[in-house]
Symmetry: C2
């Protein structure tokens, strides 16, 4: 139907799986022109360092810097940003930061070891990365909440030096973003962006130290640059469009559910909002709420395209089937708007974040509940996790054999090494045999 506001499907339809696949289909565009522009920028920054960063930044962001130091935000400027926002905004950032910090402290992994009967010690030493780079987009996509969500886990992990890069086109930058950086404990802010900022972080320059990992979202140039430097440094996931899957028993106020779907759809035209419910009448009610409320949205033009092209209201046979469909989708955000979400939870196999009960809209998780809002998209929740403290820690295996333990282990190692035709391995082990 060309005038439909949102697709309606029924999971009992014979072609349901095929239609669902069509709805979910999304491929990131790889653009050879972008790749070639990015390759040149990476090469220039790698070979010419600061000078290239200054040139590209002056050109792309219409700046007039003489040197990198002109782009560095001083600690005083960061603190000043806290006075440029409203008291209400500052309090909200501080409450959110505090809750995010508390939650993420539960993720901190600690070194462990155990000692065997013969005195041999085994374990893992867990430590923080030394230097991390955080990319923050400029302009309207410059979200203070993303600064908190990316920076706080790194600082909880114990990263020594967290450098944030954020482009300031025409020298303009959001005080909310700088305030969030100050509250999150970012160590250094530099107003550069694009592939040149990624290159500076990945390779290092005269004034910018090479980092171990780069996190944070960005446009196609930033994503392409991150993919190119992957291996040289660690990167986080390359995110696809954001999605929400709401599973409802038909007893939540339909306006609430409509607004929860909008909160995803308003992000961009590629965003995806899907509702599963066993009650067809309820789906009608939500569709009615959508029709009534959509015109009242500030971002109606974006949300309406997202809902029409990528949204769906889907009738399922029962909650059992809802969870089967949910596991098939492996959604970024899963909202269980039902009376007893705990009963469904053990059956949920793949989801980035699970919002349980009628009082847990995704928006709370996006800002201040505590858990991270950087989540696996496009079905990658099958094998990926929310951004967390663990993403900024790494492990070293610990092996300390006693003389007695080594003697026993060496015999086993020798047999296996010789089976693999690695004789020096065998002989290295055999030196440690005592008897």
């Amino acid at each position: 139907m060309s005038d439909s506001i949102i697709t309606r499907l029924d999971a009992s339809q014979s072609d349901f799986n095929q239609r669902l696949d069509q709805l979910l289909a999304w491929e990131s565009v790889s653009d050879t022109r972008v790749a070639s522009v990015v390759d040149d920028i990476l090469h220039q920054v790698k070979t010419r360092g600061d000078a290239a960063v200054v040139e590209f930044t002056n050109k792309f962001d219409r700046r007039t810097a003489q040197s990198i130091s002109d782009f560095v935000v001083t600690p005083a400027q960061l603190q000043h940003a806290l006075t440029q926002i409203s008291a209400e905004q500052r309090a909200a950032l501080e409450v959110a930061a505090e809750r995010i910090r508390n939650y993420h402290q539960h993720q901190l992994q600690r070194s462990w070891r155990y000692t065997e009967a013969d005195g041999t010690v085994l374990g893992q030493q867990i430590s923080a990365m030394e230097r991390v780079g955080l990319y923050v987009p400029g302009g309207k996509a410059s979200y203070p909440s993303s600064v908190l969500m990316n920076a706080i886990p790194a600082k909880v992990a114990g990263v020594d030096e967290l450098t944030m890069v954020v482009p300031a086109p025409d020298g303009e930058i959001s005080p909310m973003v700088l305030a969030a950086a100050a509250i999150a404990g970012v160590d250094r802010v530099i107003t550069i962006g694009g592939a040149q900022a990624v290159a500076a972080l990945a390779y290092g320059t005269e004034t910018i130290a090479k980092v171990d990992k780069i996190v944070g979202p960005g446009n196609i140039y930033v994503a392409t640059a991150k993919r190119a430097v992957f291996g040289q440094v660690a990167i986080d996931m390359i995110a696809g469009p954001s999605e929400i899957l709401v599973v409802c028993d038909g007893l939540t106020d339909p306006d609430w559910i409509a607004m929860d779907l909008f909160s995803q759809a308003e992000h961009d035209e590629q965003a995806q909002s899907i509702l599963l419910c066993p009650d067809a009448d309820y789906l009608d009610k939500v569709e009615e709420s959508i029709r009534r409320l959509l015109p009242s949205l500030a971002r109606e033009s974006i949300a309406s395209v997202s809902l029409k092209n990528r949204g769906a209201l889907i009738k399922v046979a029962d909650m059992e089937q809802a969870i089967v469909v949910s596991n098939r989708i492996a959604p970024e955000h899963l909202e269980l708007s039902v009376a007893d979400p705990e009963a469904l939870l053990p059956k949920v196999r793949h989801a980035g974040a699970i919002f349980m009960g009628r009082f847990t809209p995704e928006a709370l998780g996006d800002y201040c509940a505590g858990p991270n809002h950087v989540l696996p998209t496009s079905g990658t929740a099958r094998f990926s996790s929310p951004l967390g403290v663990y993403d900024f820690q790494k492990r070293s295996s610990i092996i300390m054999c006693s003389a007695a333990g080594a003697s026993v282990l060496s015999k086993t190692a020798s047999v296996l090494a010789r089976s693999e035709y690695l004789e020096a391995h065998a002989r290295s082990a055999e030196y440690r045999i005592i008897d």
Copy 2:
């Protein structure tokens, strides 16, 4: 010196850092011809499924299969392999598997949650991936120990279905590799390899289920294919050449240290073996041991090239400096062949695995100490960890707000959402405000 058997350096030399960088320099070769061959294979398998896998396998491995089922190793064949190896080999595999399993069980991460004063519940649900593919190279690089090291963590994590692919050129396959698969609990073995096997696992075919993650080493075609399907599925690290860094106080038998260096150098000509010691006389003694023992090695031709081109004996001022140099290298394997390795451990910041004391040669860790032998190479220990159970688990955030909790959080979320011009987010939260 053209006749030097191994490079000698002194950390006090003014150009030491530069010479060390030259020694460490290693770049993976990306080959456009390989990339184009791989792209074609991926496309064929993606579009034609089993038929393409059978064609490529018959061609590259000189097989004469009619269908995929001809490549499937039956459970009876797997069990039969256990009788084809010697009793000593079988016992060694079983001892190693048992120790690897015990160690990795310490890595299992469990779901956690906490409840706030107002009844809001936060946490993470941790679960295993459903399906994992394990690539095992064919021929001489077909190491049974790698089967154990890759398969056991996946099974400890609770992966439902672990499919191992291993090429069998001319239909030949190592009984030790099949025996290791049987002992490790691999669910299904298919004798296919190359980019076609990676494609079958990443995209799925009529008979091979699409997996969530692909792990295991392979040649340039396999590595290129893994990089290409990254994002579609998860992959493990693309490994560089193996390296060892030995830090010795000069009191370990020099023959032992020479053999420990050989155990790395015999892997391949790109492997890297470096020794740091504050005692120049001791370095002379180790060099003498190298000269004397090298000709006795079965793989002398490989080890001698590796030592000459990439090895080094380095004089340091003291143990303090040794650890500074070690952290700069961020070695895959770090052997602390000293009297009191515990005193050095807290200063070690970056290393894949740390082998402590004179009785802990790397070879023990390669086979049977328990920790994993799949480790970050080429300095990536700065941001990567040993392969582990955590690589086969993923997390879902849990958020369940009480009505009271939601009401408080919604006010904060509303302020932040409106600061980001995301009005539907704000309104979705505001519906949950009670007072």
